[in-house]
């Protein structure tokens, strides 16, 4: 009785998993099918005649090398900047008392609730004025104002026993020494998972780049993929799947490597401020 009850629940979970993972398997499988097979052997997971043709055609038809490079630069710069500024800001919020601290923290965290539509038009005008429209620096800049890093890293820093910090201060350690020698090693998992999520999110960012990028050679991967979409489903489906696989392979790889850190950080991220 008990066992059959549990199996029932496993079936529910596996069914939910099947729905969420099937599209990914499906995309990978189709990207290795010939175009005709993509339409004739829709349900087959393993391609009858596996081919790299879709990938080759994608690289020939689009400046994909350039596009991957753009995507990488945007994601890397955004990640490094946000992690650096979040670390400093979180350190200030956790280890200092200063006038305006609470109101400033409140203001920064509140921005998580501001929808992008509010800042979209002025940021567009601003970036255009700087002459950075159709330029990946213009893609990077507005993405830097994101408070989630400050929030997550502050959460992690607050878990460090204050006695450790006080002991270091007694020994005249400078703040730089405390940050790099004591705090950073202790919050390493949170810093790693936050960096990975920053990188992945910037890699996937679509809304802002689609507003300002015009030339295909300046595109990031999600924009390149969008070229294949029409509401009828697109025509060259197997090539679209190859570009989809290229778009998701880096985030997936990073996630699989750092899964443990990421899951742990986000498991505790929801609760309290």
């Amino acid at each position: 009785m008990k066992i059959s009850g549990n199996i029932k629940y496993h079936i529910v979970l596996i069914a939910a998993l099947f729905i969420s993972l099937m599209p990914i398997i499906f995309a990978i499988s189709t990207s290795f099918k010939e175009l005709s097979e993509a339409y004739s052997n829709v349900l087959g997971i393993i391609p009858i005649k596996p081919t790299l043709d879709n990938y080759l055609r994608a690289f020939n038809g689009l400046p994909l090398g350039r596009i991957i490079y753009n995507t990488f630069i945007v994601a890397a710069v955004v990640t490094i900047f946000k992690i650096g500024t979040s670390l400093l800001a979180a350190y200030a919020f956790v280890y200092f008392k200063f006038p305006g601290k609470n109101i400033l923290y409140f203001l920064l965290i509140s921005t998580i609730f501001i929808p992008f539509t509010i800042t979209m038009i002025p940021n567009y005008l601003l970036v255009a004025q700087m002459g950075l429209r159709n330029n990946i620096i213009g893609v990077i800049l507005p993405q830097l104002s994101d408070a989630t890093g400050i929030f997550l890293i502050r959460q992690a820093m607050r878990l460090i026993p204050t006695s450790l910090i006080e002991a270091a201060q007694l020994e005249q350690a400078s703040h730089l020494q405390i940050l790099s020698g004591i705090v950073l090693p202790l919050i390493r998992p949170a810093v790693i998972s936050t960096s990975i999520m920053f990188f992945i999110n910037a890699w996937n960012e679509y809304v802002w780049p689609v507003l300002i990028l015009k030339d295909t050679s300046n595109y990031t991967l999600p924009l390149a993929l969008q070229l294949f979409i029409s509401s009828e489903g697109g025509t060259d489906f197997s090539m679209a799947m190859a570009v989809a696989v290229i778009t998701m392979i880096i985030p997936l790889g990073l996630y699989l490597v750092f899964q443990r850190y990421i899951i742990n950080t986000f498991t505790s991220s929801g609760i309290k401020g």
Binding site: P23, V42, T117, P222, L225, A244, Q259, T267
Partner: protein, 306 residues
């Protein structure tokens, strides 16, 4: 004497430094927020009082006109109805469903916990453009895998991109594919915070599972519950922009547009800069309301949780 004086000066210097240091540390973060978040916020307020098309050198101050237009916009009821539909569907799929699954996984069956957590989170790291194109194909009414399987049992898949109502459901499902995993992980964290002993005692007394869920788990994890409720709405309405933009462009006949997409349409497709700004500020009222709830309940910690 000189030594003491020296020390005094150094001491004074240090003090001044210490007061300034936190501001110095905060400066880089605050600077980008001022330029790309707070300045634009106020600029949007300014724009909302203008009649402007984003390009013309002529900006005409029109007072509250844009806000009044808002009230009489024939699209408004449609947009509000659609937005509410998105909110309800997203909440069912990304708030209620993760709660139930997290409950099952933490108290009913425990085997394979890490596997399920890891696997459910996986789609969260993939671009929504990828999600959109995948679902466009999978749910393609002509020749997509679901259509083929449905065909065996004699069901035809409607052309959902062109069907009122249906289109919102499918776009919400695509968005769910992206946000479900994150929500599940966070809810799981909250649910496992409920002491195991209480659950076990209740199970010993043969309390039915749904009662354990309602009477014990839900109230004891309410801070997480409120947080995820709010984040589902705040993030969900913004995330759903991507599938709307790439799949339907708000169509058919604005049937899949929401408050976020409509601002984009007014601002970047119709060039009603002033009106789009007024609209986005009005829409932000929803988000401010949620922010108030968040700070009132979640940040202070609800009930018993911790």
């Amino acid at each position: 004497m000189e030594n003491i004086l020296d020390r005094l000066i150094v001491g004074k210097k240090n003090k001044a430094k210490i007061v300034l240091l936190p501001y110095t540390l905060l400066f880089p973060a605050v600077a980008v927020f001022l330029i790309f978040m707070f300045y634009p916020l106020f600029y949007t307020i300014y724009l909302s009082f203008l009649d402007w098309n984003m390009i013309s050198p002529l900006k005409q101050f029109v007072g509250w006109k844009n806000y009044i237009t808002l009230l009489y916009d024939p699209l408004m009821p449609v947009i509000i109805k659609n937005t509410l539909a998105y909110i309800v569907i997203l909440l069912v799929l990304n708030c209620i469903a993760p709660y139930i699954l997290a409950f099952i996984l933490s108290f009913v069956i425990q085997r394979g916990r890490n596997f399920y957590k890891g696997a459910f989170f996986l789609p969260s790291v993939i671009s929504l453009v990828v999600g959109s194109i995948l679902y466009l194909w999978i749910l393609n009414p002509v020749g997509g895998p679901i259509a083929i399987i449905a065909d065996f049992v004699g069901i035809t898949i409607p052309i959902w991109t062109k069907t009122q109502g249906m289109v919102i459901v499918v776009l919400s499902i695509i968005t769910t594919w992206k946000i479900f995993g994150y929500n599940f992980i966070v809810v799981f964290g909250g649910v496992t915070g409920v002491p195991q002993e209480i659950i076990e005692a209740a199970r010993m007394d043969n309390v039915p599972l749904h009662r354990i869920f309602w009477d014990i788990v839900l109230p004891l994890s309410s801070a997480t519950g409120v947080y995820i409720f709010i984040m589902t709405i705040v993030q969900g309405l913004q995330y759903v922009f991507t599938p709307i933009k790439v799949v339907t462009q708000g169509g058919p006949d604005n049937a899949s547009s929401n408050v976020i997409y409509n601002v984009y349409q007014e601002g970047f497709l119709l060039y009603h800069t002033g009106y789009a700004s007024a609209f986005s500020l009005a829409a932000m009222l929803i988000f401010i309301g949620l922010l108030v709830i968040e700070f009132k309940y979640v940040e202070k910690g609800i009930y018993y949780e911790n």
